[in-house]
Symmetry: C2
Subunit: 167 residues, 2 copies
Amino acid sequence: MEGSIAIDAETKVHESPADHKDELRLWLRLLASTTLIEREVRRRLREQFGVTLPRFDLMAQLDRSPQGMTLGELSRRMMVTNGNVTGLAERLVTEGVVSRRRAANDRRAHLVRLTDKGRRQFRKMAKAHERWIAGLFAGLSKREVDELLTLLGKAKASTRNAVEKAR
Amino acid sequence: MEGSIAIDAETKVHESPADHKDELRLWLRLLASTTLIEREVRRRLREQFGVTLPRFDLMAQLDRSPQGMTLGELSRRMMVTNGNVTGLAERLVTEGVVSRRRAANDRRAHLVRLTDKGRRQFRKMAKAHERWIAGLFAGLSKREVDELLTLLGKAKASTRNAVEKAR
DNA sequence: GTGAAAAGCTTTAAGCTTAAAATAATTTAG
DNA sequence: CTAAATTATTTTAAGCTTAAAGCTTTTCAC
């Protein structure tokens, strides 16, 4: 059984440009799942807290670093460009939820961190956010959540590896 | 077996604000995986074809509908707002890869479709795109790809269900 | 048929995001 | 020590994206 399947797959590879439909479907489904959740989270953050997702994300990073973080580190963790973080942080400073000052040792770098107000606001939002996410995944068993975690971990590793090689 | 697990879960809910860390980790990992792939695809589309991801996405939808599609249908399939599609389509019409005309029966609606030039361009990009995706997932076995497809299908269903209820 | 509601689309204003180029400070090579 | 390379960040221009408000056309209830 398994043998014949493998042979079929091999045969296909040789008789025509390999078909990668399953991988393509996987990518489309991954993207759709993410978009669906992201859209809902965005909506609730706006309606219930009047905040945007990027701002919430930035605050979430800072919440884990009480001592603050440089803009560069923020942009790496958020997987967005430097310029993006510059503008986002600026708006959050204006709002008074983030503070910003020069780094002690390196005069190029700037440290940002949550203000007390920012931390209070974030903690409140984070609690709701965690409940929302649990609710959105409520149709999955604990086992399925674990499997997804594992498989997505592999997918991430595979992607990183391929991206690495492509350079 | 199932009973005891259910009781544990219940107990947790009562003794402390339920902890949903695994679901949260799952969401963060899902988002990270998607972002990683999306960033790479975006980069290659730009470098190798001088096209943006949203434009590629729009063309991909149209490629499946030779008879054309209304802007509303496009926006639903792409999971973006109407206004977004209006602008995107406009730029693609200017480029000459998409055509646009009033619908025959409904004078509110506009049908867009790929021009011959657009279709040729898209097909070329789509081939490369399919290879890229296969390459990014090359570290996964066929079995793992299938499992991910299944689990993500469940995740999508779970999300849709939760979003539905929340209204 | 007529008025109200819904559907399809566009416009607007604001904010997000990127790539690329520029500036300034630090590190490294020789 | 000095020139070159690297690092941290900002700026710019272009495009993407959204929510909300508005316009036009169609559908629905009566």
